[in-house]
């Protein structure tokens, strides 16, 4: 068999171990693996290279993706889907493994409906993909965020300040929630919950009086009144960098409480770096599973984690539904607001 593989969307730690898992398992079946470069763009423009075990042997600890990535959406390009199908035919690709988040997998689903034999491997740092308990990349990014929060604690303590840390998460607050809990923040703001700034300030004041500093973690995606976002990418996502959520929240706190408040943003640091052990194993498992799905003819599905088992779930059920922080988690979060 000849299997194509690509990575699409934002890069995240774990993409390389997933590619490695695909190549290793494919070798068991005597399959040939072709890596398409820069996500869907590689399939539109026929940019590719063969991948052998030797090529991927040592990439398990590399951040990013050796296949490169892009946010190109073939369904937004002229004759995009046709070009993709043509490239697959031209290269005699029997099945395609698409590694990516909601956007990449939605393209995979559409192509599947057009008759392409495709299997998905989910990745997101935001952990907001439904039908899977976890996606690789998430724990590594939370690790980086917790490390940053710990550093900020040093300065907050030394200067008797409140510091606000902004982390990734457009619509889902998982990164903020995990960072806040694991890093012992005093308040967490997530997009799923309407911010109660009065309550937050009251609590921060209390914590500040108790210990002389306080830490807040905020998701980039929370609603703020000064939202002037206009730029959007090819998938219609707002480009968030200019919003300055951390600055807004810090400003609000310092005005309300009169306490010296600073802010920081992690941004792109959170995307890179070597994957944690958890993410390496998780990514390898779903990569291996994807090849097995190809051989079982399980197309139009993705390799997901459910109750620590790797299972095949229909892309139809996963794509387009976001897994948001639910009531139960919010209740859990509130336990630490004291």
């Amino acid at each position: 068999m000849k299997i194509g593989v690509l990575t699409g969307g934002g890069d995240c730690p774990g993409l390389n171990p997933a590619i490695r898992g695909v190549v290793y398992r494919a070798a068991d079946f005597g399959d040939e693996v072709i890596g398409f470069e820069e996500g869907w763009k590689g399939l539109i423009e026929d940019k590719k290279r063969p991948l052998s075990v030797k090529d991927v042997e040592e990439i398990i600890n590399y951040g990013g993706t050796i296949l490169y990535t892009s946010r190109t959406n073939p369904f937004k390009e002229e004759n995009g889907p046709e070009k993709v199908i043509e490239t697959l035919k031209k290269n005699n690709i029997d099945a395609l493994i698409a590694i990516g988040g909601d956007d990449t997998l939605s393209v995979a689903l559409k192509l599947h409906k057009l008759g392409v034999k495709v299997v998905g491997v989910p990745k997101t740092m935001d952990n907001d993909l439904s039908q899977t308990d976890y996606t690789f990349g998430f724990f590594t990014s939370v690790e980086v965020a917790v490390d940053a929060l710990n550093r900020l604690r040093d300065t907050a303590k030394s200067h008797k300040r409140i510091i606000v840390l902004e982390v990734m998460g457009r619509e889902a607050g998982w990164v903020a929630l995990y960072t806040g809990i694991a890093g012992a923040a005093d308040w967490i703001l997530i997009p799923e919950e309407k911010p109660d700034y009065d309550k937050m300030c009251e609590h921060l004041k209390k914590k500040y009086e108790e210990k002389g500093y306080a830490l807040v973690v905020v998701s980039e995606g929370i609603e703020i009144p000064t939202d002037t976002t206009t730029e959007v990418d090819e998938f219609g996502h707002a480009l968030l960098q200019k919003r300055g959520v951390h600055e807004y929240v810090a400003d609000l706190i310092s005005k309300k409480l009169g306490i010296s408040t600073r802010s920081a943003i992690i941004g792109h640091i959170q995307r890179g770096g070597p994957p944690t052990v958890f993410d390496r194993i998780l990514a390898t498992r779903v990569g291996v599973k994807a090849v097995e799905m190809v051989h079982e003819g399980d197309f139009g599905k993705m390799a997901a984690i459910s109750g620590n088992k790797v299972v095949a779930v229909p892309l139809e059920d996963a794509v387009g539904y976001q897994k948001l922080v639910d009531e139960e988690w919010i209740k859990f979060m509130k336990v630490f607001e004291k």
């Binding site: 890069d11 550093r151 604690r153 300065t155 303590k157 030394s158 995307r271």
Partner: protein, 320 residues
């Protein structure tokens, strides 16, 4: 000399705690009482003093920040406050003071010294901008933190074939940007000390693109140009280019000190105690050519420390 006091002032730097620990323990070993002054110069004015014993500083070696707390020393520029501080020190029968901090803090210690109070400074600032010392406590950790962050960003830059601008701290000086730039393989480094030409940066990127370079990393000190501003300028000339930026900000200040910062902090602290005990006042302790040294405070704060232009040249040569 029977009783000395120690304070930390200005921006916190990793290793300040290690220096405090060293002063407390070395002081104790040599039969001195060591008094901690809380919240920097403010604590000196408000008489926020507490005796520190060796066990009070346990576990501090690896802690970032400063457990003595810090404050910006604006109010200490007022001479009346300086008088109050000296009165408070004398009332508490303190014979000498050690000030751990950077330029602003050592300007405060110079004022006390000129008023006749025995004081020794310990060079500590992530900015490394004190004259006469090759390194200050906290600089090495801050540079390492920046490198670690840039390494992560490079993963993304390569994966997306992007140009990335990373902004590091350094309002007036480019020490962090220069060393972090060289050590992380940045293609272009911008420092406040040197003017830059936007056309040359654009040309550099274009050349790289021709050579099929997968990414470009630009490192800028906040005082050279803000990352967002630079992004806009590059976009103006190369509208098609995928340029992103990241501001490291306060994350650079904290964290556990590196081995280098722990060692110099401990050595500086011991040397400061020695100087006071031997009746030497008015110096800042630092390191020169791998030897612990002391510099007159006035020189340390007033003379201009040049950045290492050799590093600059090398950066240009290794990014062909």
């Amino acid at each position: 000399m029977k009783r000395i006091a120690v304070l930390t002032s200005g921006g916190d730097a990793p290793g300040m705690n290690a220096a405090i620990r060293s002063i407390v323990r070395v002081g104790f070993s040599r039969g001195l009482e060591v008094i901690g002054v809380f919240e920097g110069y403010r604590g000196l004015i408000q008489k926020n003093f507490k005796q520190l014993l060796p066990r009070d500083v346990s576990g501090l070696l690896e802690e970032g920040g400063t457990f003595l707390l810090s404050s910006r020393s604006e109010e200490f520029k007022d001479e009346n406050n300086q008088e109050v501080a000296i009165k408070n020190l004398k009332e508490s029968r303190i014979d000498g003071l050690i000030v751990i901090g950077g330029n602003g803090s050592q300007t405060g210690s110079l004022a006390l010294f000129r008023k006749g109070f025995p004081v020794v400074g310990v060079a500590s600032t992530i900015d490394n901008d004190l004259w006469g010392t090759d390194y200050t406590i906290g600089f090495d950790t801050a540079v390492n933190t920046a490198i670690e962050a840039i390494d992560k960003i490079r993963d993304t830059a390569t994966s997306h074939s992007r140009t990335f601008i990373v902004e590091v701290m350094g309002r007036d000086r480019g020490f962090i940007a220069l060393e972090a730039g060289l050590a992380s393989g940045a293609d272009i480094v911008l420092v406040p000390e040197r003017k830059f030409d936007i056309d040359k940066i654009v040309e550099n990127i274009e050349k790289g693109l021709e050579k099929k370079k997968k990414h470009h990393m630009i490192l800028t000190a906040e005082g050279a140009i803000h990352a967002q501003e630079l992004q806009a300028k590059i976009k103006e000339k190369l509208p098609e280019l995928d340029v992103k930026y990241s501001v490291l900000g306060y994350i650079q200040r904290g964290g556990a000190p590196t081995r280098f910062d722990r060692i110099i902090a401990t050595m500086f602290g011991a040397e400061a105690v020695d100087l006071l005990m031997n009746g030497n006042s008015g110096y800042v302790v630092g390191i020169k050519d791998n030897h612990i040294t002391h510099i007159p405070i006035e020189d340390a704060v007033k003379k201009y420390k040049e950045i290492n232009y050799e590093l600059y040249k090398i950066i240009e040569e290794v990014t062909v």
